[in-house]
């Protein structure tokens, strides 16, 4: 009992009075105006269906996974969407592990209601075999840091994760057409979920004096407030859900004003989410294009140049490894993991070395957890190694045109290939259509090429 008291967040009387008095003059303690949201930053990781949202000091992560299960008896044609909220003890000293607290349950319910009742996520498209097999989508929300207003942040994280989630494609097969075959992502491109609209939650906090209302309370304001209301709207100004559970009584006019403001905020936040998801999708598409054989010619000659570099430190050795993996990732799509690991590793080495010397491939390699790489610097460094710049740009534009196509294409002729070995390696790597285990094994001639280019130096 003692420990729980020590853990709970108690504001002193002075602090409470200070916050309330400041609000009477429309001043908030972090300098915002009453109807300003904090900065929202949405980051995605390499994996699909995971999003990390920072709303000021509040930090939330969402992970989306899907499994095939049996549908509910009363809805045989629909898939299911379930939310699991974890108020991790790392977010707040008063969060205890184990059974979810009231606040955790309420948060989960509000977000769930916003998505399910408003039919934002299309559950009928998740049905594979009516009455037998449907997709059950599960959203895990981890609250990492409680800086106030968890509902809004968690909602944005859940939406961002659902928008970027891809489920494997499956088809019906077998003798009677009743067997469900799930295609792995290497064979068939996974599909996104169908989401009709984005319900955005906007939380208001009410204070005891003279109907003071603020949007997006921090945890200090939450400790002082008299009541709160969460309105979930979408960009079309449709109200998906409203939650006002007890607390201060509020005038009707104030509620109407809040709903109007919520409409504007919902529109702003929807555009932010959509922009973040768009840029993530283009990065993803670019990453797929990088696995194109036409990009290989550039990488191999780059590999020849980079091998000569200093390889004493094990971390620098990543450059050699990453060059070879970039070639390999072209030949075998299932090695996509490695290709992506390479890009993250490159970013990590950048972080550690501070300078991106050993970079191959353009700005398509990215890692949200480290600083971005200056693409101009990259191009300059690559140009200085004797590669023709216009050909690179041409490749880039060609790459964009061919988004989604996996068929290999003849590499452009104007790339200067330094040694005949490289051409031989090119033809080996330019395999058509099927990729076999043969491609997974590092071909021996690559090693010979590497040794020959080192001997050149």
């Amino acid at each position: 009992m003692e420990t729980r008291l020590a853990n709970s967040f108690r504001l002193t009387v002075n602090e409470k009075k200070f916050i309330e008095t400041a609000l009477q003059s429309d001043l908030r303690i972090d300098g915002r105006r009453p109807f300003d949201f904090r900065n929202i930053s949405i980051k995605f990781s390499r994996e699909e269906g995971s999003a990390e949202v920072q709303l000021g000091q509040t930090h939330v992560m969402a992970f989306v996974t899907a499994q095939l299960t049996q549908p509910y008896k009363d809805r045989p044609n629909e898939g299911t969407l379930s939310m699991f909220t974890e108020f991790s003890p790392m977010a707040d000293p008063s969060f205890e592990p184990g059974r979810p607290s009231e606040a955790a349950v309420e948060l989960g319910r509000v977000i769930d209601r916003g998505l399910r009742e408003s039919r934002a996520v299309d559950t009928e498209s998740l049905c594979v075999l009516s009455g037998k097999s449907v997709w059950a989508v599960r959203v895990d929300l981890h609250i990492l840091d409680n800086g106030g207003n968890l509902v809004d942040a968690a909602n944005i994280a859940a939406l961002a994760a659902l928008l970027t989630f891809r489920r494997p494609e499956c088809s019906l097969g077998g003798e009677d057409g009743q067997q469900v075959i799930v295609h792995p992502p290497e064979v068939r491109e996974p599909l996104p979920l169908i989401i009709h609209h984005l319900p955005i939650a906007v939380t208001f906090a009410f204070f005891s004096n003279e109907s003071t209302v603020v949007v997006d309370p921090t945890h200090y304001e939450e400790a002082v407030m008299g009541g709160r209301m969460t309105a979930t709207l979408n960009a079309n100004n449709d109200i998906c859900a409203i939650q006002k559970a007890g607390g201060e009584g509020v005038l009707q006019s104030v509620i109407m004003q809040c709903l109007r403001i919520a409409g504007q905020k919902a529109y702003d936040i929807t555009t932010k989410i959509k922009n973040a998801v768009e840029s993530y999708n283009t990065e993803r598409a670019l990453r797929k294009i990088k696995r194109h054989p036409s990009a290989v010619a550039l990488d191999i000659s780059g590999a020849g140049v980079n091998i000569g570099k200093n390889q004493n430190k094990p971390l620098k050795g990543d450059s050699e490894r990453s060059n070879l993996t970039s070639e390999k990732s072209v030949t075998d799509q299932s090695m996509d993991i490695e290709g992506e690991a390479k890009s993250s590793e490159q970013q990590q080495t950048n972080k550690i070395d501070g300078v991106s010397k050993n970079f191959i491939g353009g700005p398509s390699s990215w890692d949200p957890y480290s600083a971005g790489v200056n693409s101009d610097f990259l191009k300059a460094s690559l140009a200085s190694r004797g590669m023709t710049m216009p050909s690179r740009k041409e490749q880039g534009s060609r790459g964009e045109n061919m988004s989604g196509e996996a068929k290999p294409v003849d590499p452009p002729e104007d790339i200067n290939v330094s040694s005949s070995n490289i051409e031989a390696a090119e033809t080996v790597l330019r395999t058509n259509g099927e990729r076999t285990l043969q491609d997974a094994v590092k071909p021996k001639n690559k090693r010979k090429m590497k040794s020959s280019s080192t001997s050149e130096r």
């Binding site: 003692e2 420990t3 020590a6 853990n7 990781s45 390499r46 994996e47 000091q57 930090h59 992560m61 992970f63 996974t65 699991f84 974890e86 991790s88 003890p89 790392m90 977010a91 707040d92 000293p93 592990p97 599960r138 895990d140 981890h142 990492l144 840091d145 409680n146 800086g147 945890h219 094990p314 971390l315 050795g317 990543d318 050699e320 490894r321 990453s322 070879l324 993996t325 390999k328 090695m335 993991i337 490695e338 690991a341 390479k342 993250s344 590793e345 990590q348 080495t349 972080k351 550690i352 957890y369 480290s370 094994v441 590092k442």
Partner: protein, 243 residues
């Protein structure tokens, strides 16, 4: 016999390491540790009054909560909690704050092999960030044994699953001493040769295990330098977080 690793690394090569401190605002100490694609975030809440029922009230107690990325909490999470707790207990100075509990919360962000060593490294960095008194740091590493008796370090998840056996080892970090005697010696052997924690999975011969120990020890020297560099005090950025 050379083994070709999937991502092209050599047998003794580690994945790129990244460590960042002071990530969370409410937690007293926080750190994230990334090894390749495996990423773990740890938060520490400093000494709270009282210990649990079964714990010794004469000493400080460490409580570890392991949160997996998704799914229910089961027996394997309890096992991880126990291992991390015992490891941290041996590096913390437990006599300084008796009858208190320090909570260490581990959140798995991505698991691509060597999860437990990554978590222990992150927990160590988070304890330093929170200012919990420690005797010395710990560095953890994972070694995999292939069928041919070949040992590779820092496996990815695919490698872990396909190998015959693997072992994770935690070594004490060497103390950088300004005194001319150099590193601390315990009974004649330098302190770095001690093993704090060791766990294995799969069957391996005694010689293989000793080989793993040697390789692991050599590799932890590199990790120690990364850890030490990251834990250097940053000027004017460590603010008091008692609120």
């Amino acid at each position: 016999m050379e083994i070709d690793r999937l991502d092209g690394r050599k047998a003794n090569q580690l994945r790129p390491l990244a460590c960042s401190r002071n990530i969370l605002n409410r937690a007293h100490g926080s750190a994230s540790w990334t090894q390749g694609d495996t990423k773990v975030l740890v938060a520490v809440y400093g000494p709270k009054a009282g210990t649990k029922k079964n714990e010794n009230p004469e000493k400080a107690c460490i409580e570890v909560i392991w949160k997996p990325k998704s799914g229910q909490i089961g027996k394997s999470e309890r096992e991880y909690e126990m291992i991390v707790k015992r490891t941290l207990q041996s590096i913390c100075i437990l006599n300084i704050n008796p009858n208190t509990t320090t909570s260490v919360i581990v959140q798995v962000i991505n698991d691509d092999g060597a999860l437990l060593p990554c978590a222990i490294n992150a927990a160590c960095a988070a304890l330093v960030d929170a200012g919990i008194p420690l005797k010395h740091l710990a560095v953890a590493i994972c070694c995999c044994l292939a069928d041919s008796g070949y040992i590779i370090l820092d496996p990815t998840k695919l490698e872990e699953q396909s190998m015959k056996a693997y072992a994770y080892l935690v070594f004490p970090n060497s103390i950088l001493s300004v005194r001319p005697e150099g590193s601390l010696k315990v009974q004649g052997e330098p302190m770095e040769h001690g093993v704090i924690t060791s766990g294995t999975q799969g069957a391996m011969s005694v010689d293989d295990y000793l080989n793993c120990l040697e390789r692991g020890r050599a590799a932890t020297a590199k990790m120690s330098t990364v850890l030490r560099r990251n834990l250097q005090p940053q000027i004017a950025s460590d603010l008091s977080k008692a609120g």
